[in-house]
Structure formats: C-alpha cells, structure tokens
Symmetry: C2
Subunit: 285 residues, 2 copies
C-alpha cells in the first residue's frame, strides 16, 4: 500500500492518517471544511492536498448519512482503486449506496471498534492498535478491494473481523448498541433517586453507566439506523427482566429463598458471558 | 472510642480492624473459625481475644443470615455498649432482629459501600476511605448507639449516610442491586452470540458488564433478600425498554428518524444521571 486518501479529517480520519504514516504510507486528507484538512496536516496525519494519481484506497471517515453521496462523488472522480468507510450500521448504508448507483465491487464497508462513550477525544496513531475492525464485504465486493481493506486494517494495527452486513448490525446491537441504551436507562433512573440514594452509589454503578456519557444525538442516530436489531435485543431483554421480577416477588411471597432459579442462572451465565470478553483492558477513570 | 469488638474476621472485619488501629483504637477479633481470628491478628487487624471489659461497640461482620442470632448472643453476653452490622439489606434484617428479641436501642445497622463485583479481595486499612457508609437507625435506636456508629464510620475514613431501613433498601435496589442484575443480563446474552459478534466487543461493553464477575451465590442471596424493591426497579426498567423498542420499530416502519422521542430523552437523561454520580473513581482493569 503506497497512498491513501482520507475523506473527513475528524478524529478517526486523522488517527487513520497517523497510523498509516507509521508505515511510510503517503496519506492525503480532504474535508468539506478546508481548515480541518489543514489542521490534520499540521498534526501529522497527511497532506491537505489531492493525490497526484489514483490512490490505493480511500477511507470515507464522514458522518454515516454522508457516506453514500461522498462515495458516489469520489467513485466518479476515480479517487481510489477501492473504498471503505467507518460508519457503525451497515444494512441501511448499503441500501443507500445502491440507491446512489455506487459501484459495489470496489467497496468494503468497515467499522473500527474504538469505543469510549463519547468517541475518542484526540487523534492518535495507536488508536486502533489491537482493536477489532469489522469489515462487511458483500457478494459484489471484489478480491482487490477486500485485500486492500485487510491491508489497511493491518497497517492501522487492528484485527479484521469479517461479517455480512446483516450479521454485523445484529452483532453490534448485541455488544454495543443495546448495552449502551441499557447503561443510559440505568443512569436516567438516577435522576429520580433521592439525594441519599445517590450518595450510596459505588464503583459498580459508575462502571455500568460510564458509556451513558456519550453524545446523545450521535447515539440517537446510530440506534435509529439500527432500529430493528436493537429493538429485538431490548425486547428479549425486557422479557427476561420481567421474568426475574416475577420470580423475586413469588419468592418473597412464599418465603422460598431458593425459588429464583432464573435469577441464579442469569447471575451464573452473566459471569460466564463476562469471561467471553475478558481481556486486559485499559484502566479508565 | 477506645475498644471495638469485631465479630467475623473476613475481609470486611479485618479491614475495619486495620482502619481503626490507625487511630489507636484497640480491636478484638472473634470468629466462628478460631483460625480466621488468628489470621486476622497476624495481619494486624486486632487481638484474637476477648476484651477485658465491655467494648464501646461491636461490629458484626458476619453473613447476613447470621446477624440476628449473633446479635442476640452478644447482647446477652454484654459484649459492647452498642452494635452495628455490615449487611446489605435492612428490612428483612430488622424483622429477624425483632423476632430474636434483640434490644433495638443499642443497634445501628449499617453497610459500607465497598463495591467491586466480587467484593474486596484483600483486607486493607484504607478500604473505606472516602466511601459512603450507610447507617439505618430505627425509631428505637438510642443516641449513644447512633453517635458511636457515626464515630466508627468516621474513624474508618468513610462518609456516613443516614436512611431509614425501607429507604435504604429502595436506594440500594436503585444504585446497586438492579444495576448488577442488568449487567448480568447483558453479559449473559453474550453466551448466545456468535464468535464474530463477541469479537466486536469493546471497552464500553466491558465497563457495562464488569460487575457481572461477582459471586453468583452471594448476589442471589442479596437480591432475594431485597426482592420487592429490586423487582420494582426491574419492572419499571423493562417497561421503559419495551417502550423504546416500540418507538424504534415505529421509526423504522415510517422512516421518520426523528420519531424516537423517548429514546432521545433517555439518552439525554442518561448523560445527566451519570453526571449525578461522577467523581474521581479508581481506574480498574
């Protein structure tokens, strides 16, 4: 990989630039706001200029609702041999991409997992190191585009995870979107709590609700874009919570402390489920 | 405060001993297992012996279902001028204490908030520093007992939070018990996820589910003891989740992305609720 165009010089775009330049890749930044591209150049993420020839790949690090029109525009200009994006919900994206008449053989949609409720704060070359980066090729995607995307992800230090668009959206509903909404629900209920109740909050509650700090508008967009899978998760989950509430009330009435079987199961499965995702993670305040 | 008897030489009991000895208080450890008391003495938490005269206060750091009988026994022996415990659910506790015919004027039930899913791992003198410590006096509690308990909490470095027993149990349902169950539910659902879905887990999910690592049996006891308030939280919460799922589906059907009003509210309230409990907390892996 020799040259990459990064469309959108925000935190993600600049971080991609910084990451790629570690390996001697030449990066070109462009942004609807020319000042942003210049700022990206100043921070070392790439040249705020057009590449002299067709780039190997273009990374569309733009807001989700702009990916399709931006892709169509750059494909018309022949900016790069293939294209990827970083938006979080894939089924609606591909629908829009088709509606815009984009070429799907040169597109491998993608999404780096860089969590943190508000999104990363500062551009960093190591932002993606060791992190998952989803890639969602379709049946139309060509081998050239796929291999180029795999190389991009590797150069950014991340671990590629391939899924179909539908599977991706269900996956992120499970591991990111619904949990975020749950964290917000728990945090929102604190507003109704007495002062003395809130005084009893401990580290556990801060952990559960940390992600609720995220930008509400950005999350509303994401969740609405992934409405179906997220609604499925919420419903399954609410049903489980209600079943446990019933069990608890029955146990309280009957005085049978061994009654809550589903509760015990959930607690045990919870510990097992947690073990599936345990790995040395970064301590954060 | 000059002398304190600590009944139950586990992690909490030993930590209380270590904390008090920082201020020159003489502490005496006793435990159903004499080896535990001796181990507590060796770690510096106090003397594994009976006090020569009546102690100022006895801290019953025993499992919740043993508090009432242990209290009755020590009140009969006249071990201390007043008594406190550290168990997490107060209404059932006071019911048992009355059933055992204990003297309520000398009891101030309490509960230090020392979170961390599995409970603290090692006894530490600074375990309670800056942490909340709930105290739940009843109408029967005498001033001497209350002031003694306030002093105990202060010497342990903690911040007293006074609540009636019913208010305490609703409070911990809100800020600890139901959130723990929520975290377990989210984590339990990971067991059903594909490998590739789980690979997309990020820091946010680890935060939300961290507390699910806790001891399932210990938590089952706590939640069952606080069945009513916890069931109330779960039901309210499930209803809210279902309402948001309906909103999301309606928005998906109508194509109206501004439709999910309740969703946006929850996300905004979530950020506001999080702000109520934000404070410099210890980074943990």
């Amino acid at each position: 990989m020799r040259s990459v165009v990064i469309v959108g010089a925000g935190v993600i775009g600049r971080s991609v630039g910084l990451a790629l330049r570690r390996h001697g890749v030449t990066t070109y930044l462009t942004d609807a706001d020319p000042e942003a591209a210049l700022a990206g150049e100043r921070c070392g993420a790439g040249f705020a200029a057009r590449p002299p020839r067709q780039a190997d790949i273009a990374v569309l690090a733009v807001p989700p609702d702009q990916v399709a029109p931006v892709l169509a525009e750059h494909q018309k200009l022949g900016t790069a041999r293939c294209y990827t994006d970083v938006s979080g919900v894939k089924v609606p994206l591909h629908r829009e991409v088709r509606a815009y008449g984009c070429d799907l053989t040169s597109l491998v949609s993608g999404a780096p997992v860089v969590g943190g409720g508000q999104g990363p704060a500062q551009p960093r070359a190591d932002l993606f190191d060791g992190r998952p980066w989803a890639l969602t090729p379709t049946e139309a995607t060509g081998n050239l585009a796929l291999n180029c995307a795999l190389e991009l992800v590797a150069l950014c230090g991340a671990v590629s995870v391939l899924l179909a668009p539908e599977a991706h959206d269900r996956a992120v509903a499970l591991v990111s979107h619904a949990p975020h909404l749950v964290a917000s629900l728990v945090a929102a209920r604190l507003l109704g709590g007495d002062e003395s109740a809130v005084r009893l909050a401990g580290q556990d509650l801060r952990d559960v609700t940390r992600t609720a700090d995220g930008d509400p508008e950005r999350w509303a967009e994401i969740l609405t874009a992934n409405a179906g899978p997220v609604a499925d998760q919420l419903d399954d989950w609410a049903a489980e919570a209600q079943a446990m509430a019933r069990e608890l009330r029955d146990a309280a009435r009957s005085g049978d402390a061994t009654g809550p079987v589903r509760l015990r199961e959930t607690l045990r499965f919870g510990a097992a489920g947690r073990a599936r995702i345990r790995e040395p993670d970064t301590p954060r305040p």
